[in-house]
């Protein structure tokens, strides 16, 4: 696997060569990765895999005409071929009058602990052992558990970026993870799959947390309950609201959607769009964030961007293209689909500021309500209107201050921008998920439709 210095050299070569070939502006991003992973089926490790990937993406301009190219071969010869394709593409396309320029030089933040040596030093037996231990412990903790799915991984990446504005940056990062998806037989069929995981920079993973989290949910899922249609208090776990927000709120704070008139809150900066109990930050520098890095995918420094502060809309998220067009500064939120050549605006880690009370205390005060741990169908939400209509699954009934069992086929409907105003409280203890760090949020008067 080429290291970040070798990738850096390749990126600089591409920039120089691209200009020689007639491009007026050139950028290159290169990434190499080794992904050592296991997969568990029916409670046993079925596959160990190793994906060795090299990816080199080029974006260049001839005047204001843009072309991209990709190669998975990290050599100068392959880069030359890719450059020719990118130049040909730029020459064939139309001029983009809105394009201003590529990113310029900036100072990068120091982010500690992105790399953990335990990951590149691990081998097949390490990842097999981690997931095997988890399966064994979870099976002991949950009677009747069927570990339907499981996986573990040790992932190491090197990346580099260079452009014709003399921006040069390289870095490396690792991730270790373990995940389990459990089901259990019930009298009438099967429970929903409950998924629990831990993901960090290294392989010191918290199996105790994963087992306890899974066991708590599985025990509830095995007790069938009925729901009631109507407007109810609903506690939504971050596993669920991260999906609903991904397809509604977070689409509306993307600068490109704001600029194109596709955001319902595009003209609401400085206004209250949510309950004052809600503060949401995009934190590209959070040490527990899986997407944390020094720079985004076009070499712009990552940062911490407040989105909603005490209910007030504070900022949108930007990449360089749309920030330039709208006369603002990039917030370091560019994400590049390497193979497609598409640079899009994407959140890094969404952090919901915790409240003061533990979730158990909050639930103890709810006479009738629902705890939604996961949802089905968030991706079918309407990102522009904010309307969503999902199945809560698992959906847990709260009765007389306690979680008492699970309901099949419970629908949760609403509008993301409306329910943000219906936040009653935020719990104290955050979950550390991929892309989201936050505790449960309690919403009042949410439309619940129970299956008859």
């Amino acid at each position: 696997m080429p290291n970040e210095r070798e990738l850096d050299e390749l990126c600089k070569y591409i920039v120089t060569k691209g200009k020689e070939l007639g491009a007026t502006h050139v950028e290159a991003r290169a990434q190499s990765g080794v992904e050592l992973e296991t997969e568990v089926e029916l409670g046993q490790v079925s596959t160990v895999s190793n994906k060795m990937n090299e990816e080199i993406a080029i974006r260049l301009y001839v005047g204001k005409k843009m072309g991209c190219a990709f190669t998975n071969i990290p050599t100068r010869e392959a880069a030359d071929e890719a450059l020719e394709l990118a130049i040909a593409a730029a020459n064939a396309t139309t001029e983009d009058a809105d394009w201003v320029g590529l990113p310029v030089k900036s100072k990068y933040p120091k982010v500690e602990e992105l790399w953990d040596d335990s990951v590149p030093k691990s081998d097949s037996s390490d990842v097999v052992r981690i997931v095997g231990t988890l399966i064994d412990r979870a099976s002991s903790a949950v009677e009747g558990l069927i570990p339907a799915y499981g996986a573990s991984g040790a992932l190491a990446y090197h990346s580099a970026y260079a452009n014709s504005n003399e921006v040069e940056h390289s870095e490396k990062s690792t991730n270790g993870y373990v995940v389990i998806g459990g089901v259990s037989q019930t009298e009438s069929g099967m429970t929903p799959m409950v998924v629990s995981y831990d993901i960090r920079r290294g392989l010191k993973l918290d199996l105790d947390f994963v087992v306890e989290d899974l066991a708590t949910m599985m025990k509830l899922c095995k007790i069938p309950k009925k729901g009631k249609t109507g407007k109810h208090t609903v506690v939504i776990a971050p596993h669920a609201y991260q999906q609903i927000f991904e397809y509604t709120l977070l689409q509306s704070v993307r600068g490109d959607n704001v600029a194109r008139g596709k955001s319902k809150i595009g003209d609401k900066i400085g206004e209250a769009i949510a309950s004052e109990k809600i503060t949401v930050v995009d934190d590209g520098l959070n040490p527990r964030g899986v997407n944390t890095s020094c720079a985004d995918d076009e070499g712009v420094p990552r940062q911490k961007t407040p989105i909603i502060e005490d209910g007030i809309l504070r900022s949108f998220l930007w990449d360089t293209y749309w920030a330039n067009k709208m006369g603002v500064k990039s917030t370091g939120n560019a994400r590049r689909n390497m193979r497609q050549g598409l640079v899009e605006i994407a959140s890094t880690t969404i952090v919901v500021e915790p409240g003061e009370r533990e979730i158990e205390e909050i639930i103890s005060g709810i006479e009738h309500g629902y705890y939604i741990r996961g949802v089905q169908g968030a991706h079918s939400s309407n990102p522009e209107s904010g309307d969503f209509s999902v199945v809560g699954n698992p959906a847990i009934l709260i009765e007389n201050g306690k979680m008492v069992g699970a309901i099949d086929g419970l629908m949760v409907s609403g509008n993301a921008f409306d329910i943000l105003k219906q936040v009653e409280e935020v719990a104290r203890m955050p979950f550390y998920l991929q892309g989201t760090i936050g505790p449960e949020i309690v919403f009042r008067d949410v439309d619940i439709i129970a299956k008859e």
Partner: protein
């Protein structure tokens, strides 16, 4: 590429692997995205890669690499990884026996997308934008995506299979946004072919056809009334029935998922109302999910999942066929060399019944007709959800006003018994992509079907 793959198979065999499978790919792949007439992505790439899968002591090792000079290293790594996994297994993985094939599969393509000028592709997208913009003044933003691919796949196994197949893809997808006052809405549509070249977008999925299918839905949403939450009698149209077949039932009938789902142990049992028949067929000429062989070299086939209301057969790969004692159905598919093959659907449908379409609407005092969807998802407890982007009220047996975004759900094992009528009619298929950890191009469809109240739950406003 065959020579390199065969050499690697030999390496795996010499190491002592029970089974060695090498898949190679080489081809042209292209992605173009246009936003409000500006091209913001235009990437053409030539990509080659190898997938190595070995079965050793009853466990799999898998390596993917783009570096063809590293094949032997990859085989050795896969062998070691399988060994590490095998030590932990109580039941060794076995494969159902299949016939080895030596075949060369070709396609009849008129215009290889690789050789279609970029200018022509951009014009296609620009024309689509024009059709969409001209359809309604309230349309505010248009994004058009086009993907094409053209190449070859190679499969060599230690059992003597040696298959070369030609691959192609043309895919068009508009996302359209509309605004009226403070009301915003959006809709999408997609069409694709894995058997024809650029001519499919010229002659079938034309800019006008694809563009207007998305634009019309935005208009309906802007003019629609909110859905009521609850359970209502309803008729689901072919595009929604197709996705229901895929999400609600198809996934439960994929043997790797069945075993952990509410369908487990139900083969041979009645699982639906009278007249319910559902099939997955990988042999239908020209369809999106059709191919001669799967990625394990097993011929594609027709799987009668539900026959006369009885769960009859599951979709399998070689591993699960051996595990459950059923035939391999040719449903092992891999997105690319970056992934191992897993059980996937191909062309999934409800079979036509014997109701006239008009009969399906008769007697419904209030209900919904769902015509088009946007996404869907299944869960192991047979719970399904389908987002609906085009729906109408049914009032006194007649189609009424359009309805804004909603979604429908149900528990498949219950809903199937609430089917009250299946239309006897030809139906259009919808082109889709399934994401079960990897992308697979699939098609789904079925005639219009009526459900009793209690079969389908509608997400929406409650009183």
């Amino acid at each position: 590429m065959f020579d390199e793959l065969e050499k690697a198979v030999e390496t795996g065999r010499n190491l002592g692997a029970e089974y060695v499978e090498l898949r190679g790919e080489s081809g042209f792949i292209e992605y173009i995205q246009m936003e409000d007439r500006n091209v913001n992505a235009l990437t053409q790439r030539l990509e080659r890669g190898i997938a190595i899968r070995v079965l050793v002591d009853g466990a799999w090792g898998f390596v993917s690499t783009g570096d063809l000079s590293a094949i032997d290293f990859g085989v050795e790594s896969a062998f070691k990884m399988a060994k590490a996994a095998a030590k932990t297994r109580k039941d060794p993985i076995a494969l159902a026996e299949v016939k080895a094939f030596e075949k060369k599969e070709t396609l009849d393509i008129e215009r290889d997308p690789r050789h279609v000028p970029i200018e022509e592709k951009i014009k296609y997208m620009d024309d689509m934008t024009t059709h969409i913009r001209d359809f309604d003044d309230r349309i505010t933003a248009v994004t058009v995506k086009v993907r094409t691919a053209s190449g070859h796949k190679y499969l060599v196994t230690s059992e003597g299979t040696r298959i070369q197949s030609q691959s192609t893809l043309v895919w068009a997808y508009p996302w359209v946004s509309g605004k009226e006052g403070t009301k915003l809405s959006a809709a999408r549509y997609e069409e694709a072919s894995t058997h024809q070249g650029w001519e499919y977008l010229e002659q079938v999925a034309t800019p006008e056809y694809v563009g207007l299918n998305a634009a019309e839905k935005v208009k309906l949403q802007l003019e629609g009334t909110p859905a009521k939450g609850g359970s209502f009698p309803c008729v689901l149209g072919p595009r929604v029935i197709g996705v229901l077949a895929h999400e609600a039932l198809g996934h439960l009938a994929e043997a790797d998922l069945t075993i952990n789902s509410s369908f487990n142990g139900k083969v041979g049992e009645v699982v639906g109302a009278e007249g319910v028949n559902m099939t997955d067929d990988g042999r239908m000429p020209g369809m999106l999910g059709t191919s001669g062989f799967d990625d394990e070299g097993v011929p594609s086939s027709r799987v009668e999942i539900i026959k006369d209301s009885v769960l009859k057969e599951l979709m399998t790969n070689r591993e699960y066929a051996a595990k459950i004692g059923q035939r391999p159905t040719g449903n092992a598919r891999a997105e690319s060399y970056l992934f191992p093959p897993i059980i996937r659907m191909r062309n999934t449908m409800f079979e036509p019944g014997d109701f006239s379409p008009d009969e399906l609407f008769e007697g419904i005092k209030f209900g919904y007709y769902c015509a088009d969807f946007r996404g869907g998802q299944a869960q192991m407890n047979a719970s399904f959800q389908v987002g609906i982007q085009e729906a109408y009220e049914i009032v006194d047996g007649q189609l009424g006003q359009p309805v804004t975004d909603l979604s429908i759900s149900g528990i498949a094992t219950d809903s199937l018994f609430k089917i009250e009528g299946v239309a006897k009619e030809e139906f259009p298929w919808e082109a889709g992509r399934c994401g079960k950890g990897q992308e697979a191009f699939v098609s789904s469809g079925g005639p219009r079907i009526r459900f009793l109240e209690g079969g389908i739950t509608f997400g929406g406003v409650t009183n």
